[in-house]
Assembly symmetry: D2
Homo-oligomer: 357 residues x 4
């Protein structure tokens, strides 16, 4: 069996960093060998650094416990200890460091929003736009980077409807989408939302989230035009983003219209039969079926369906005629797995399978 | 001071019946003198009948405690003991009894869905369509009823956006609405939603609710055409109805378009300046301002805003451009007050002020 | 490999019945081949019978879906189709049927409270009093039963402290226990607790629960005296039982005194080193370590620790001096796994390992 | 009508400060004229200072909105603008400033824990130990203060059982108490407990809370011995303190023994008939009945009973024999009203009625 790739986690002590470390335990291709965090954690063992703030249900993996936490600026060390990195950095810090890591020769798979609209950076959902990785050589060339590059994951809020809409778009020409999300508290990280603010409450506002939800899909469904991505502006999305008192799982109520109205059977068949590149390549973290369509009248439900296929499947239901647009349905995905660390891992697996790593 | 009208509550032991009894305590015009319920409660005092299942925060009003519960079929007794009734009956029972009470000479203000689409029965939100009460004489004539009649209250799910949209419709011609509701558990009555089903969960389905939300507004905004209501089909509504883990308060995310696109200032001004018939008549249960528009970016919120003006005001916020339709906003109302018993009381007050009672 | 024992589930459509069916999927020794329920379910396939009310996170196991549901009174059929049964019947129904099944030659492992204090029926926690099964032959002889017998599982409320206290009792002589439980809603079954009753609330009362918590331990720690169990009255327990808004997991705050006060080290060592008969026999459903003692100052926590070792381990923490009694600690166990179906399965495994099945 | 006393709030922008400001709106004796907070708020109007973090359900009182926030160190200004202050400061800041304010001539009623065990500082529940205020002249003399002094309020965790136990202690000699609390999230202030930490969870640990609960009662029930308080060590308390997912209201399960065992009737009668000094003096914020004993088997409940008598009454229930100690019961009080700002206001009212203000 081939040697595992050595993985670094930037922002390793935060919520998303912990999720990466937890999900990567026992991964067949990757092994966490390097953890970087802010100055106050640097120098401690990882176990010391997260004492009292380890939020995962499983305990810290044995092999990560005793890793020494590096300061984020010690790129030389990083280069020695790992083959690529996942960035779980906060946006302002990501802005400063991700390019430096890439320039130093380390591929970066990022959860931060910093580079989502950087013209030469692919923003990838492996089932939707795996071909966007073809920008990588151009990105390296344009920037004079040898081995490093940056690939990013889109926002968690769109993951429960991006794939089903992308399939429709390619076949029928998506035109209009009105979506309302009901997003879990874990999407805000830790400490995130104060319990006093969200218990017995709905907060109909998440800073920046609606803009991301409306704009990111146009890049994801866009095309490579020379050294940059051309956005697809043939459709428009209106998003209402709400925080609701659930722990994990983002639900979306979606109404949409296409240039050519598909029948109910065509839509269901399109969704149920879809298998993407991650499935063809049998990537370890790929769900067997990327889309589960449930026939029950009251599914998907947040608590019941979020963990489907290790939290990587998108569960849909309730496809029905829409009196204003053409059709409407409900979508659900796990925001901290498919929508965060799991989605990042799947990108890295795709990068490796496609020889970028 | 005039003598108070004597009020009967049909379905007095259920959740909505309890809410009526609780809200009517100390009412300046009405006094509960009669309570009717199912056979197993009949013959007991009201206090005995609700022992162990009184769900209101205030204790049972002193004057209602010792009322003897009548069986629902003793209309002769009802006629002696009250001047009109609120019906909090379940739909199938309402179907059987509301007309009999009206035929016997007792006006019925109903929360049940039975007669919402009966052609000669007004479905009223007092700030929106008070003139629909003008159907009452026609209803009585057509059915050969002397003093009795039936007026109904629409579904709780539409109350957080019906008034603001009605104002827009009259000025700018509403065309399209896509609405997603996040509805509280109290909307399902008691025992209603099992805690095991809704904790840490969203259920994207409430039986019958979407159809009601899409169809009832067309009658409410319709007109009287001879002996029946003509529905207004100049606009279409698409509704997604969700149950979320909050106790009271229904929130709605609304996107809409009008025939003529209003400006942001026009909309806000229309909403803020509106005073309706209940306000002009200074009805006791009318909120001072029927619509509160909040400027904060994260309001309305369910727990913070539901009780505004004794739970009778509708709170709006976040009016912003919509990339698909014209505008979008968030609305909130208290489902068991404005959306149920409080809404019914306001109808009765309007009926009395307009001399129908 | 030996043939699996064929298992029947009485009360198969209820919450506990579903839990049995879900947990037994893929069990190495047992296979569900028979499901019995109330008359309205009888005759349907299991999938039809639970349509719209299957509450487990995993879907219905393939092999159970198409089983025909038998009426509870068809014992002849039961005898043909299974080797023993788990009873998840409600107490009144259990009273009527469990003895008839046993009389007909089917061993019954019961979750019902009916026979917990029947003098010749063992009430067993496999790590605490496995030797109580030695009553089985006496029970059979006394009642004239050949192959059938009844063994019961104690109440879920005591499972988070019964084992740690039993160990202390045998070494140091337990004298006094004051315990307050914070019990999850799943303990009440489905629909169980209404969401309107428990959201943002604590209900300091669960019918019958305190009496069970105070009395059952005296039988469990008692001894076989001829043809009946002698209760151990050398200690007294005072229980406060509360329902709190958590989904799964019962937590207990326990203060206790012994005849001889143990040191902190002695207690921790006793708990950490304990391995019981299920561990020695390597029973499939036995947790590797029956007691996990956590050193963090804020553990165990309901959501974080309930699933430890497939929900079968008891997690303890916060052992500290008690200003009134001698010591106090916090205990947690999963109420629907260790405290219900998982506990029953472990009893059945013990019965099989000990050749009673 | 006499002129109102001018009140300052130290730590005015925090959760407890906001509660003071909200509860004092329209107070007949007191008027908020001065607000002090940390340097980053100083210089702003109060409305600006709390923009986006006003957590009360009622809006900011009109008269406080435009008050300029003073820095905490401008005692000269404070002396000019108010007659006494409520301190809602965090403990370390309270340590630095409360004595300085008192030394400058401003009486301080404090919610901080800093001076709870300072030997010459009364810790007062007005219904329990109003006579402890007699220490004030001694405190002033001993410290050379003219008009200023410090009085403190005990911890919120003990308020639901301190009064009922105090009454028993005086009549029957309390000896032993084992108490388990289930405390709401608002007790931790804002942002306080992260929603991710407490949803679907119980945390059996609140830093410092158990020690406070066990120790503070001994001072409250103690006596003035010259220039200091003598603690009453004739009884011992063991406390388990838990955080549960409720918004407001602390519940306590209490087992206790007295030197002389009272009968059930004696206890209930003692509790129900009690009226204290605040009731005799008809203090504005005093509840009419300090203790409400409910006969229902499942009361008090957190959500249903916390607001009783404007959140100032203690609600008890379920008094029953205890198999280990003598009796057990359940108590409930509103932690941010009776347990925080409301309790402080009642102390100030008592001070005024007794001419200390």
């Amino acid at each position: 069996m081939a040697k595992k790739l050595r993985v670094g986690i930037l922002g390793a002590t935060g919520m998303v960093g912990q999720q990466y470390i937890s999900l990567l335990e026992g991964h067949p291709w990757f092994e966490v060998t390097y953890v970087a965090a802010s100055p106050q954690s640097a120098g401690k063992t990882y176990m010391e650094a997260v004492a009292g703030r380890w939020h995962m249900q499983k305990d810290i993996p044995q092999n990560v416990m005793s890793l020494k936490v590096s300061p984020i600026d010690d790129i030389v060390q990083a280069k020695k200890q790992c083959d690529f990195v996942f960035s779980a950095l906060d946006t302002p810090v990501a802005k400063e460091w991700e390019e430096k890591y890439a320039a130093a020769g380390l591929p970066v798979v990022s959860n931060a929003s910093t580079h989502r609209h950087t013209p030469d950076v692919p923003m990838v959902i492996p089932e939707v736009n795996p071909h966007h990785l073809e920008m990588v050589p151009g990105q390296q060339k344009g920037r004079g980077w040898k081995e490093g590059f940056i690939v990013v994951k889109p926002n968690c809020s769109i993951q429960s409807y991006m794939l089903p809409l992308a399939l429709l778009h390619r076949r029928y020409g998506l035109r209009s989408v009105v979506v309302t999300t009901m997003q879990s508290i874990s999407g805000a990280g830790h400490p995130g939302v104060a319990s006093y603010d969200i218990m017995d409450n709905v907060i109909p506002y998440i800073r920046g989230e609606e803009r991301k939800s409306e704009y990111e899909p146009q890049k994801i469904l866009g095309t490579i035009k020379g050294d940059k991505f051309a956005y697809d502006e043939s459709f428009a999305i209106s998003a209402h983003c709400n925080r609701v008192p659930t722990i994990d799982g983002h639900m979306a109520c979606v109404s949409f219209s296409c240039a050519k109205k598909p029948s109910r059977e065509e839509i269901i068949s399109l969704w149920k039969s879809f298998r993407g590149v991650p499935q063809d390549l049998k990537l370890p973290y790929a769900p067997e079926k990327p889309i589960i369509y449930r026939e029950e009248e009251n599914r998907p439900q947040t608590r019941l369906d979020r963990d489907t296929d290790k939290g990587m499947a998108v569960t849909l239901g309730r496809l029905r005629e829409d009196p204003v647009l053409q059709w409407k349905f409900v979508g659900l995905s796990h925001n901290t797995i498919r929508g965060a660390a799991g989605g990042g891992i799947l990108i890295a697996e795709l990068l490796k399978a496609k020889k970028y790593l």
